[in-house]
Each structure stands twice: as C-alpha cells, then as structure tokens.
Symmetry: C2
Subunit: 320 residues, 2 copies
C-alpha cells in the first residue's frame, strides 16, 4: 500500500501521516510507502518499516506531480489548499491552488491510468451558503457565498465526474469546523472557536467575537483524521450517485462550549474569555450552517465526537 | 443597448436574434447593436435600425472574445456549447468548450471591467441527477450524472462567484427539455420528445423508445427565448444568494403528448408512432427529473406554457 499526501506539511497532513504510521495499515493492507508532498519538504516522523519520501513540490507546477503519479500510489490524500481567507483575498491564487491543481491531479491520474487509485479530497462546510433550511443534508443545494467554497464545490463536481467515468476512484469529505486546533489565533473567522477554549486552558486571554447563542457544527482533529482514513477504505460504490458527502459533527453553541470550559477548568478559565462583538465575524459565522442530517455518512461508518466534553478531554490528553 | 450572443448560429441563438430584432428593445432601452458570434459566421436577419455584426470566432481561442468585450456589451447571451452526447463522448472537448471557454469569458469580463454587463448563460436540467426527490426545487443538490451537466454546474458556481465579487452581473437558466424542436431526429437521447410529434404532424413515421408513462419536464422554444430575454432584464439582486435557477416548464407523460397529437391530427397521426423500446434511452430518460417547484422563477416572471396543446399549436402556427 502506497499512500501519497499533498499538503502533508499542513495541520491535517502532519496528523494524518502520524496516524498512518501508527496504524501501519489501511484497508487491511500493510502500508509500505508514504509520499509526502508540500511546498516545503514535509517533516517525516520515524516510521519503522514504512518508507517515507518527502518532496518539496508546488502542486500548481504543470506536470509537477507526474513523478509521484508514475509510481501509481494506491491512495492519494489531496489536502493541499489555500484557506478561505486567502482564497477570498486573491481569486487567482484560490483558483490556481484549490481548483486548477486539483484538476491537474485528476488529469494526471487519467494520464497515468490510475482508475483504481482512491483519491480523497477535503472539501468544506463552507461550500454551503445562501438561504438554507434549518437542517441540511447531502441533498441540500451547494450555493457557496465565498470563493473558497466555490472552488471546493467545483472540485467535488469534477472528482465525481472523473470517478463516474472510471478515470479515478474519488471521494470528497466536506469537513465541519475543526476544534480544538492547537497553535495560536489566526486570521480565519473560525479562529475564535478554538481560541476560546485553547487560550483559557493555558491561562491566557481569548476574545469571543460572536454571541453566546451562535451555534457551530464541529468535529475534533482526531475524528477528521479517522474520517480521511475511512474515506480511503470505503468502496467507491458505497458512496452512491455522488462522491462528496458531509461528515458527521456535533452542533454546539458558544454558551455550551463555555459551560464545558467551566466544568473542566472552572469559572476563572471562563473569565479569561473577553466578549468583544465583531460585526464582520458575527455575520460571517452566522451564515455557516450548524445543523446537519448526515445519515449517509453515518451509514458508511463516519463518526462524530460523543459530545463537546470529549473534544476538550482529547485536546487536554494530547497536549499533556 | 448592445447585446453580444455566443452560439448565435445555433438553434436558440438564431431564434433569440430574430426575437430581439422583432422587439427592438430590451429592459426598456432600444437595441442599437447585436454582435453575433459562432464558429461559422452566423446568419443575420434584416434588422432595420439595428446594426448587426456577425463574427466567426472560436470561443476557445485565448483572447478570442477580447475585441467583442472591448466594445463593452451591455448584455452577453452565452449560448455556445457542445451538447450532452458530444460532451459525454469527448471529455476534453466538453471541458474546453463548455467550461474553459465560459471561464475565459468571465475572465475577459473581469479584465475589461464589465461589472455591469449582464451575462446570461444557458444551463440545463441535465445538471440534476442521482437519487432525487419526487419534486425538485432550487434547493435540491446538483449531482450530475453526465459530463455535460457537470460542466454546466461548474459554470453556474463560477458565474455565481464572479457575480458575488462584483466582476460581472451573471444569470444562469437551467433549461427544461425543449419541445417541439423543428428539424430532423438527431443523436440526442431527448430527440424522440420532439420527433414523436413533429414527424407524425408531417405525415412521417417516428420511433418512441420509452414507455407511455415516462414523464418529461418541457418548455417550448418560444418560452425559452422569452426567458433568455427576461433573464437579461431582471435586476441581479432579485436572484438572491445564487445566480442559477430552474426555469418553469410543464410535466407531461408520453401518453399525454400522444393524446394531444390525437386531438390535433387524429388517430392516423398517432398510428405513425412506432413503439420500439430502447433500454439505453429508456434508462437515461428515466433518470431525468420531471417535476419541479419553480416558485423562485415564477416570482421573477418566468413563464411556462399553459399546457401541451399550446406547445403543439405554437409549433403548427410557426411551421405554416
Ligand atoms: N472545515 C473546513 O472547512 C476545513 C477545515 C480544515 C481543513 N479543510 C481542508 O482540509 C485540507 C487541509 O487543511 P489544513 O487545515 O491542514 O490546512 P493547512 O493550511 O495547515 O495545510 C495545507 C497545506 O497545503 C500546502 N499547500 C498550499 N499550496 C500548495 C501548493 N501550491 N503546492 C503544495 N502544497 C501547497 C500548504 O503549504 C499547507 O502545508 C485543505 O484542503 C483544507 O481546505 C477544511
Ligand atoms: N434542456 C437543455 O438542457 C438545453 C436545451 C437546449 C439548449 N441548452 C443550452 O442552450 C444553449 C444553446 O443550445 P442550442 O440548442 O441552440 O444548441 P446548438 O448546438 O444549436 O447551438 C450551439 C452553438 O454553439 C456553437 N459553438 C460550439 N462550440 C463553439 C465554439 N468553440 N466557438 C463558437 N461557437 C461554438 C455551435 O456552432 C452552435 O451554433 C447551449 O448552451 C445548450 O447547452 C440546454
């Protein structure tokens, strides 16, 4: 089993590599080789019997992935992307990295005859937008209100078509908002969702720019990694007529998140969260859907966290 | 008012040109100029005070439309496309004409600063597919099961994003199956839908490859042309959060179509329809959705034919 990972130096990429090394197998077959691809050479963990090849490759370079595809990987986890705010700030960059590079990857798979290769792409809840129903499901129209979501939705369509034509065996996961991300606050509008837990848990202050009753649809990093692995294991036919699906997550309000923080770290931790309403962030976050019926993904075995307490516990266990 | 039309030599293009010349105005402004674009120089009708410029241009040529865009048309009707069967037979051709050329057109509008230009594109009911609900609406997920529908759906997303960013003022109409098309039977799976009326009305035989209870969602050519004109007249904001919409049509079964044929031309006309089941066509046509709630388009003023009788009457009136 040879697995290639684009964006392997990123947040999810690095975790996926570590988890694959830890498991040592995928779909019942021993992993013999991991090819890690990113703009900068991705760090490779000590992997025992697994051969790890790290490559500094820009996926937007024409033919840049050819040497990797020529090795006929069994699975490609395609995680390289520019994030939402970058794609909104620079339409050309977003189109180039998020859409054109995915299309080139599909064309590369076609050219190299990788019909059996399982291509797993990370899409996003940000593909949804517009006037949405109270509860969404996989039959809800995708009407993105940002360029990142548009580019991801276009990739979903293309991967579905290439899979339908038997040119590759694609699968696309729409990821919920991931919490708790380790690290520092960043420019992403969703940054607060991790920050209001992470910083107080380290004795630092955090800013909450949205009202207490704002709901979010969230999934922990380790469940996302599980899902990326499962997505490479399910048979393509099991996905039915469309190769993209929304992952299960849990719906939590900011108030519930802070209640959990109180249970775990007391009133003094909650007191470290300053409430500073920010209208731009508030309206953006308010437009994100927070309730999903994910029956299709549930049936395929994708799993949500049990509750928000479990997410915080997992974060604390990992940090220590 | 300057209107540019791509695919102007085609079936809808030629009708649109004639109707625009007949009306002489769009959105309350006199039409001064029509630029007709197609692979071969599109025939131009006698147009009185309206200046018509016909251009033989391949829209896939890089920068090919620049000279047209430099003239800052107020409206662009983008109708050039390769049809469903051609896009399925040749993925590269479909991607190039149906998707890449639309993207180039959007980029051209952006480069020429045509933020106010109303870009009207024809999409298709073929964008829908998969496991669909009994009645579809604009919030039903688009999960195309053919490359043509995939390419159209990708254009919808891109036009929506370019419009949201204020780079152009786009509108996309998903067209129902158009009946009655004049001419001869062709390779399209939908060809029978026109043929089983058109041929018997001319005293000729026709073949019906699908069962009598097969339903179709149809619209007459003249209503489609009306819709293309109205789409250039409605204010962009009226479309709300997504720039594509399904046009109203009527749901008719093959049995109802033949009943209408009987009313208009008697039993002997109906007897000219030979029933020769064709499994490939049957299963393809059975996958097309036939029932839509088009409340959004209805509110905007788009209109369906009153009933199938009206469609046949209009065809006969036009033919004579
Ligand atoms: N809820 C969500 O919407 C959501 C959340 C997280 C991730 N995602 C998606 O999951 C994937 C991974 O996300 P992440 O959080 O690990 O992001 P990340 O930014 O940490 O990692 C992305 C990686 O892609 C690399 N990359 C960017 N452009 C490249 C190029 N031209 N060539 C090669 N590598 C390039 C970056 O260097 C980075 O290491 C992305 O596709 C992202 O869009 C979605
Ligand atoms: N129900 C439906 O799904 C449906 C029905 C009819 C039309 N449509 C859409 O409406 C539009 C018009 O359809 P039509 O029935 O008039 O089709 P048509 O085939 O009669 O016309 C299309 C025109 O585009 C031109 N064209 C193709 N490639 C070109 C290129 N590279 N450069 C310049 N011109 C090019 C062709 O020469 C042709 O004249 C198309 O976009 C079609 O996809 C959808």
């Amino acid at each position: 089993m040879h697995i290639a990972i684009t964006g392997a130096a990123g947040f999810l990429g690095q975790r996926l590599v570590r988890q694959l090394v830890k498991r040592g197998e995928l779909d019942g077959r021993a992993i013999r080789r991991l090819t890690l691809i990113d703009q900068v050479e991705p760090p490779a963990p000590d992997a025992g019997a697994i051969e790890i090849v790290s490559r500094a490759l820009d996926i937007t370079t024409p033919g840049g992935l050819d040497s990797v595809l020529a090795e006929r990987p069994d699975v490609i986890h395609h995680l390289a992307a520019v994030v939402s705010s970058a794609a909104e700030a620079d339409l050309d960059l977003g189109m180039k990295v998020n859409f054109d590079a995915t299309r080139s990857l599909l064309e590369g798979c076609r050219r190299h005859g990788l019909a059996e290769t399982r291509l797993v792409m990370a899409s996003s809840v940000a593909a949804y937008g517009g006037e949405l129903p109270e509860v969404l499901d996989d039959m809800t129209a995708v009407q993105p209100q940002n360029s990142y979501g548009t580019q991801k939705a276009m990739c979903e369509l293309l991967i579905n078509d290439y899979s339908r034509r038997g040119l590759v065996d694609g699968r696309v996961l729409r990821l919920p908002t991931i919490v708790i991300r380790p690290g520092r606050p960043n420019a992403a509008a969703s940054s607060f969702a991790s920050s209001i837990l992470r910083e107080p848990l380290s004795g630092e202050e955090a800013i909450c720019p949205v009202p207490l009753d704002q709901e979010l649809f969230v999934l922990s990093p380790s469940r996302v990694i599980e899902a990326l692995i499962l997505a490479a294991e399910v048979p393509g036919e099991a996905l039915g007529a469309f190769r993209a699906l929304m992952l299960p997550g849990i719906t939590v309000s900011v108030a519930e998140m802070l209640d959990t923080l109180r249970e775990v770290a007391g009133d003094e931790a909650v007191a470290r969260v300053r409430h500073e309403p920010d209208e731009r962030i508030r309206s953006l976050v308010a437009s994100w859907p927070a309730r999903f019926d994910t029956a299709r993904a549930d049936r395929l075995g994708f799993r949500r966290d049990a509750d928000f307490g479990e997410i915080v516990d997992a974060y604390l266990a990992e940090r220590s």
